[in-house]
């Protein structure tokens, strides 16, 4: 199916082609309220999008929607806006709303050309996203940073002791993913010092990415600097780096963790393994949570060691 070029309206051309990065956070869950065709069109519009969309937290993006053999440029807007009823999945023109065109433009903070329809949708929920739960056959953990494999596939990290190579895992919505690489210090010869990391690929985020935890790069920290962990169980927790050890001996594992920061107090709980940890107040990743010593300290394996071990590159 070809998209029409709305060249007669420069604004619409921009919005149809260019899409907000936020738009990429759309999940299957919120798309369930759409028709299959809408979803496909939306999906394909994302694939073609490489320009920025006008920035408004109440506009999730734009797409081309076909109804009754007509293709319509559409803004995906938050169905939870106060005031007017904004039924999920129903195409509306600005004039349909009691607040009128000027009112909705003021609400959204972007102009709405006459040809553009509004498609109310729930706030996008990311699929296989950093800080979400990951369920392996035996264990549960937290999803970490997005990466790209050597083959160019989109992927996401978690802890190796959570997900074994060759197994299928689910995100918290039940979307399946494949563990294509894993190294688990609990499954290596005694005294081997290794990363604790797994790489998961899935179809679910082929055109979607997360806006929950944004990673802009990596950074190394020193003692006394603050970090923020985004765990599935503990949520967002802030701690302070006490030090960085070239190895951590884990009595219940045959091997040992490689290159770990440890914090001045525990900031994590069971189920947080794999969680992304960033320099506090920044989008700079330092590594992923792998474990703790009770309430005394939490361990964060350095991102460089994990990327090297997994043979992947960070997606920013």
């Amino acid at each position: 199916m070809a998209f029409r070029d709305f060249a007669d309206d420069p604004y619409v051309t921009e919005t149809v082609i260019g899409l907000s990065r936020r738009l990429l956070a759309m999940s299957r869950r919120s798309a369930e309220t759409w028709t299959r065709r809408q979803y496909d069109l939306f999906d394909r519009a994302i694939e073609g999008g490489d320009r920025e969309f006008p920035d408004s937290p109440k506009v999730f993006g734009a797409a081309v929607v076909r109804t009754d053999e007509k293709e319509l440029p559409v803004l995906l807007v938050n169905s939870g806006l106060p005031g007017d009823e904004l039924p999920v999945g129903k195409l509306l023109s600005a004039e349909d709303l009691t607040r009128g065109r000027a009112g909705i433009e003021a609400e959204l903070g972007v102009p709405i050309p006459g040809a553009v329809q509004l498609l109310p949708v729930p706030e996008p929920q990311p699929c296989f996203a950093p800080s979400e739960q990951v369920r392996a056959p035996v264990k549960r953990g937290t999803l970490g940073a997005r990466v790209e494999t050597a083959d160019g596939d989109d992927a996401i990290l978690t802890a190796g002791h959570v997900a074994a190579t060759g197994t299928t895992v689910d995100d918290e919505d039940g979307d399946p993913g494949d563990v294509v690489f894993s190294v688990d210090p609990g499954q290596v010869p005694a005294h081997t010092v290794t990363a604790d990391v797994a790489v998961i690929t899935a179809d679910c985020w082929a055109s979607h990415s997360s806006s929950v935890v944004n990673v802009a790069g990596t950074v190394e920290l020193k003692g006394g600097q603050d970090v923020t962990m985004h765990g599935d169980v503990s949520g967002t927790q802030t701690g302070t780096v006490m030090g960085r050890s070239p190895f951590i001996y884990v009595p219940t594992m045959s091997g040992q963790w490689l290159d770990c920061y440890f914090t001045t107090a525990g900031i994590s709980a069971d189920g947080d393994s794999g969680a992304p940890v960033l320099a506090d107040g920044t989008d700079d990743l330092i590594g992923h949570l792998v474990g703790a010593s009770g309430a005394a300290t939490s361990y964060v394996e350095a991102i460089d060691a994990q990327l090297r071990a997994a043979g992947v590159t960070l997606k920013v």
């Binding site: 392996a136 035996v138 264990k139 549960r140 953990g141 802890a159 002791h161 959570v162 609990g186 005294h191 604790d196 003692g223 169980v233 006490m242 030090g243 960085r244 050890s245 070239p246 190895f247 951590i248 001996y249 884990v250 009595p251 219940t252 594992m253 040992q256 963790w257 770990c260 440890f262 994590s268 709980a269 069971d270 189920g271 947080d272 393994s273 949570l289 792998v290 474990g291 703790a292 010593s293 009770g294 005394a296 300290t297 939490s298 361990y299």
Partner: protein, 75 residues
């Protein structure tokens, strides 16, 4: 006074050897504050402090007793 890399290497060798033989070093980290080089050793809560030297070359050893490290997956 900053310690030499050779001295830090001795600390690392010491920590790894203690881990292999006695299992009473979980990990260690450099601490350099106000010109004093200190190696912080993570040790079991029941570690025998007399078994550890006070320093290696110019590096002071400090012990931090902690519970055993473990992974934080949920079964």
């Amino acid at each position: 006074m900053s310690a030499s890399e050779a001295s830090w290497k001795k600390v690392d060798d010491f920590a790894r050897e203690r881990n292999r033989t006695a299992g009473d070093v979980y990990g260690w980290s450099r601490l350099e504050r106000e010109g004093h080089a200190t190696a912080l050793l993570l040790v079991p809560e029941d570690a025998m402090t007399d078994d550890f030297p006070d320093r290696i070359d110019d590096i002071e050893l400090a012990l931090k007793p902690i519970p055993p490290p473990r992974g934080q997956s949920h079964e």
